[in-house]
């Protein structure tokens, strides 16, 4: 006998199934999975790229290699090989001298390519209108910060001595893109041309100089370069990416990415549930076909191949259609948001399409294959004895496969193994507990309902008849609601965090170098111009040199990313302050804050409160003795508390806070930040005149930039939430659909036994309301567990129970499942019972 290739036969049968409407649910579920994950991937990738581009402006580049010693030529050569744009710069401290004064300044020597991202802004004179420029100072010229003009008593057009060279001030420097990460630098900034560097003679072997190589270019090229250079970095060399450029933006980006990743996972779980339920239904409806095919001479293996091939075809169709739909959805979204997005968004890459396709096939493999494998186990004898159900496939295989696939997908989306594992094991544990909870709930309800009305008994009877099946359904629906809920909660949390981080009146100016004698007058002056100010903090520059008598390591292993902050903090002067009270945004982690009226005995050791992350990275704990060098003198202080600091806001923050009196005798200036409405800006000129020594830093443009980015991220988050909710609803209907066959049959049977429509309708409502209520309850428990774990381990947020959702979720779930279920089973009331029974038999 000459059999046709199974591939063709499978295709032919599949087409007939499709025409008969048998595939709608499975194909639909899969289509949702692929569409959603493609659209989310595309959307987030494009947005992320756009946000990254914006964030790169804070670094002046996409990637920066920096070092305390000259960088090997190979670094630049390799960058050229990778078609990256590059710019060299050196930064060092040097004394600027005018005819009348001298001032230590922070000098940056740059080449013509600087900056690779973002822009420089300059003005003709101090506090004049600023303009953006594409140039850098020409050879023989320098640009200086306005305060330097004051300090040296010079104007634009005058010359300054820099080492052996004399350079002319040709503009006032008002904005450097890569300045943002360093508000606290105490010395005024100067920009000069790299070509003049040799003439100055300031850089000699042993000078403290930072060499930087700025790079920008295509993502892949950057990635290639990053991979190439990372293993080569010496201990004193550092690679910074966009995420390091600015703390506020970096944090927002990281969280947004985490959120989008999690949302994608939620969407995938949703799709997984749908695929699992609908392929379960597909398999169930094909037991008879499988038995019949075996009777007609197909071997077990051939039957299995036949159905696997069908599955493959379904996968291919759903993937192709899903990719197209995903592209369409993403395009539509971009059109919709055209006004709010940057004018030119980077084109999406191929990766999201691959992710979409992988999602489809993985969902099939992980969720649809196990039920289909049962089809191979159908005994041909089933044609005579319909009660012969195939042996269920090992549950280890089912759940193992699904878990494996899920973890791979999650890993791909989050790029974070810890989150992935936490979610998986937490999820599995939660599912187990919740399943048990559902089962117990059902048992408890069963006892109560024996006395209830017929409608209640009929409705709940459907659920109680097979508690395991009912628990599985509840778990599925619960999982769907949970996914939606987690995404909703995270979104709300994220948005409010960002809102709090940058309220409308976030400080838009920093002021340094206010003299202690002027404290009263300065506060008064700020009040007079209507500025809202943070407290004035005294600041003394000092360097941490020893911990418990041991010199501080200045070279920290490069593998240890966590220690990075430590390295940066100890390689430069810190702003040391003292305060009687814990700053408002700080939280005490360990130890005790000193009593308000503490007058230390002159002989007692100074006490210092250290910032928690720095303490971690330096390995400093409570009671350790820190040695500082301040103004050439040494000071030992005992760590009396460890505090966490809210770095994301724009108020002055400190690594080290001493007890009042401990820094007495060291010279100090005052520092604060304040908010001044843009229209009041002119008042600054008067302030500057009144306090010539002070240094004013405007962070308004930076704030605006960060707000812009946050607005985009918010938008992305909102739309992704909408996606997930839509997907959740669709999957809910698909899942419900998959469970309706049996219900229709039962309903029809009851009608033949004389049950009236009203009774059936009531029973139907009872059943689905109960199902919804319990899945809603499970969802809210699971969502609380999930968000707690996520907040605690992944997002570093404080968690509090979401009481409103405890009320809303079960009722919303009951209503949704109730309406959808009653609508789905309306055929019971409308069609001839005989037809339904014949179909179900």
């Amino acid at each position: 006998m000459n059999r046709p290739p199974l591939a063709r036969l499978a295709w032919r049968l599949l087409r007939r199934e499709w025409r008969a409407g048998e595939l709608t649910v499975l194909l639909g579920a899969l289509l949702i999975a692929v569409t959603i994950s493609t659209a989310i991937s595309l959307f987030t990738q494009r947005l992320e790229r756009s946000m990254t581009d914006r964030a790169a402006e804070f670094l002046g580049a996409d990637l920066v290699v920096s070092s305390r010693s000259p960088l090997p030529d190979s670094y630049a050569e390799q960058a050229a090989v990778n078609d990256l744009m590059l710019s060299h710069q050196l930064e060092f401290s040097s004394v600027m001298a005018s005819d009348s004064a001298m001032q230590l300044s922070s000098v940056k020597a740059v080449d013509a390519a600087y900056p690779l991202r973002g822009e420089l802004r300059i003005s003709r004179s101090a506090f004049a209108e600023e303009t953006a420029t594409r140039c850098v100072p020409a050879a023989g010229e320098i640009w200086v910060e306005p305060r330097l003009l004051n300090q040296l008593g010079v104007q634009v057009g005058d010359s300054l001595e820099v080492g052996y060279a004399t350079l002319r001030i040709s503009a006032v420097l008002t904005h450097e893109p890569d300045r943002a990460s360093d508000f606290y630098s105490l010395t005024p900034r100067v920009l000069m041309n790299l070509d003049d560097l040799d003439a100055t003679g300031v850089v000699q072997p042993g000078s403290r100089v930072t060499y930087r190589l700025l790079l920008s270019g295509e993502r892949q090229a950057l990635e290639r370069y990053r991979n190439w250079i990372e293993p080569l970095l010496a201990v004193n060399q550092r690679l910074s990416g966009v995420e390091d450029g600015n703390r506020q933006v970096g944090n927002a980006l990281t969280r947004a990415n985490q959120f989008l990743g999690l949302a994608s996972i939620a969407a995938i779980i949703l799709a997984g549930v749908a695929v699992a339920l609908s392929s379960g239904r597909f398999a169930l409806r094909h037991f008879d076909s499988s038995a019949l095919l075996r009777c007609m001479g197909l071997q077990r293996r051939q039957v299995l191949t036949l159905f696997t091939l069908q599955l493959l075809y379904i996968g291919i169709i759903a993937t192709v259609a899903g990719l197209a739909l995903g592209l369409l959805v993403q395009w539509g979204l971009m059109q919709l948001l055209a006004d709010l997005l940057p004018p030119r968004l980077p084109e999406p890459g191929v990766l999201p399409l691959l992710v979409g396709a992988a999602t489809g096939f993985s969902a099939l493999l992980g969720f649809a294959l196990p039920p289909l494998l049962r089809l191979g186990n159908v005994a041909p004898l089933r044609v005579l004895r319909r009660d012969l159900e195939p042996m269920p496939v090992s549950s280890w295989l089912i759940y193992g496969l699904a878990l494996a696939v899920l973890s791979l997908l999650m890993w791909q989306f989050t790029g974070d193994l810890t989150i992935t594992l936490a979610m998986l094991f937490g999820g599995a544990l939660a599912a187990l507990l919740l399943g048990l909870l559902a089962w117990l709930l059902l048992r408890a309800v069963a006892g109560k309902l024996r006395e209830a009305s017929l409608a209640w008994r009929l409705g709940s009877g459907e659920l109680l008849k097979r508690p395991t099946a009912a628990a599985t359904q509840m778990l599925s629906f619960g999982l769907i609601f949970m996914c939606m809920l987690v995404v909703l909660i995270l979104r709300t949390e994220l948005l409010s965090t960002w809102q709090n981080q940058l309220p409308d009146d976030a400080p838009n100016h920093f002021v340094l170098n206010v003299l202690p004698a002027e404290q009263q007058a300065f506060s008064q002056a700020l009040e007079n111009i209507g500025a809202r100010s943070a407290p004035l903090y005294p600041v003394t520059p000092g360097r941490l040199v020893s911990i418990n008598g041991e010199p501080v390591r200045t070279e920290v292993s490069k593998e240890d990313g966590n220690r990075d902050r430590g390295t940066r903090a100890i390689n430069r002067d810190l702003s040391l302050t003292w305060a009687a009270e814990l700053p408002a945004d700080n939280q005490l982690r360990e130890g005790q804050w000193w009593p308000a009226v503490a007058a230390p005995a002159p002989s007692a050791m100074a006490r210092v409160s250290i910032e928690a992350e720095l303490a971690d990275s330096l390995g400093v704990t409570l009671g350790d003795r820190l040695g500082f060098v301040i103004e050439g003198r040494t000071l030992d202080a005992e760590v009396s508390s460890v505090r966490s600091v809210e770095w994301d806001n724009f108020t002055p923050n400190f690594y080290m806070i001493f007890a009042p009196g401990d820094l007495d005798g060291f010279p100090a200036t005052l520092l604060t930040s304040f908010y001044l409405p843009a229209e009041q800006r002119v008042a600054l000129r008067e302030l500057n005149r009144q306090f010539p020594a002070m240094t004013l830093l405007e962070v308004g443009p930076l704030l605006a930039q960060i707000r812009d980015i946050l607005r985009q991220v918010t938008l992305a988050v909102e739309y992704v939430l909408l996606f997930v909710l839509l997907a959740g609803m669709t999957v809910l209907f698909a899942a419900l659909q998959a469970t309706l066959d049996e219900r229709l049959y039962q309903g029809a049977l009851l009608r033949t036994l004389g049950a009236g429509r009203a009774l059936l309708r009531r029973a139907s409502w009872m059943e689905f309301l109960l199902l919804g209520l319990m899945s809603g309850l499970m969802a809210v428990v699971a969502a609380e567990l999930a968000t707690w774990a996520l907040y605690r381990f992944a997002l570093n947020l404080d968690w509090a129970p979401h009481l409103l959702f405890w009320l809303l979720t079960p009722s919303a779930a009951a209503l949704l499942i109730g309406c959808a279920g009653v609508w789905g089973t309306r055929a019971v009331l409308q069609q001839s019972p005989m037809r339904l029974i014949n179909r179900g038999a």
Binding site: R3, A20, L293, R294, M296, Q299, A379, L381, R839
Partner: protein, 226 residues
């Protein structure tokens, strides 16, 4: 004996229930000649359907031997039995067993397509015409009456030109008049195509139309009624 298409020797079937082992078939032997018709009759639970499943190779006996079309079923594995079924055997079931997702025509085409016949559509059309359903070719099983569904099933059973046809209560789900027409059709086709017909029934009238009949009682064969 040489022309027997099905030979059963000392068939027993024991299933282990939760209490004691249950003897469903007890030492059954019979032989069915080519192109003959045999009715297996008996009350519900007498073991007649089990005997049918063993003769057709859908299940294996606990002991004994079945030779179908010259091959010892007990020596074949399930896949080899499947191949043999595809080649030699056709089935008609009490519950019709049509695939819901296929039209009447496609249901009949299925065994032909499985056999790789390129003329599946034409042959299936002819067979539907033969059973009087040419007008309902594109209808799905749900849109057909019980009698019509069984006619489709019969057309399907004869489609692959089996040498032996097993029918399990073919009229069991039908009213008397329809059942009568279905059995007419079954026997007519059986004669036309020289097929061997083995049918299980508790309908005495249907059994009477067969050349031979055996009666089952409590798992044992009581003898040839013919």
């Amino acid at each position: 004996m040489s022309d027997a298409v099905v030979i059963a020797r000392h068939l027993s079937k024991v299933v282990t229930s939760s209490e004691a082992p249950l003897q469903i078939l007890d030492d059954v032997s019979l032989s069915i000649e080519r192109s003959s018709s045999l009715a297996i009759v008996g009350a519900s639970g007498s073991g007649k359907s089990t005997l049918l499943s063993l003769l057709a190779g859908l299940d294996l006996p606990s002991s004994g031997q079945v030779i179908l079309a010259g091959e010892d079923l007990t020596a074949l594995n399930e896949d080899q039995r499947a191949t043999l079924r595809g080649r030699e055997v056709g089935f008609v079931f009490q519950s019709f067993q049509l695939l819901d997702s296929l039209t009447a025509l496609e249901n009949v085409m299925l065994p032909l397509e499985l056999a790789g016949r390129s003329d599946a559509r034409e042959r299936a059309s002819e067979l539907l015409q033969r059973v009087g359903l040419e007008a309902r070719r594109q209808h799905y099983p749900q849109q057909l009456s019980g009698g019509e569904q069984q006619r489709v099933a019969i057309a399907r059973a004869f489609a692959s030109e089996p040498s032996i046809l097993f029918a399990d209560e073919p009229t069991g789900n039908l009213d008397a008049a329809t059942g009568e027409r279905i059995s007419d059709l079954l026997f007519a086709l059986n004669r036309e195509r020289g097929t061997t017909l083995v049918l299980v029934t508790h309908d005495a009238q249907l059994a009477d139309r067969c050349q031979h009949a055996v009666r089952m009682q409590a798992g044992r064969l009581l003898g040839d009624d013919a």
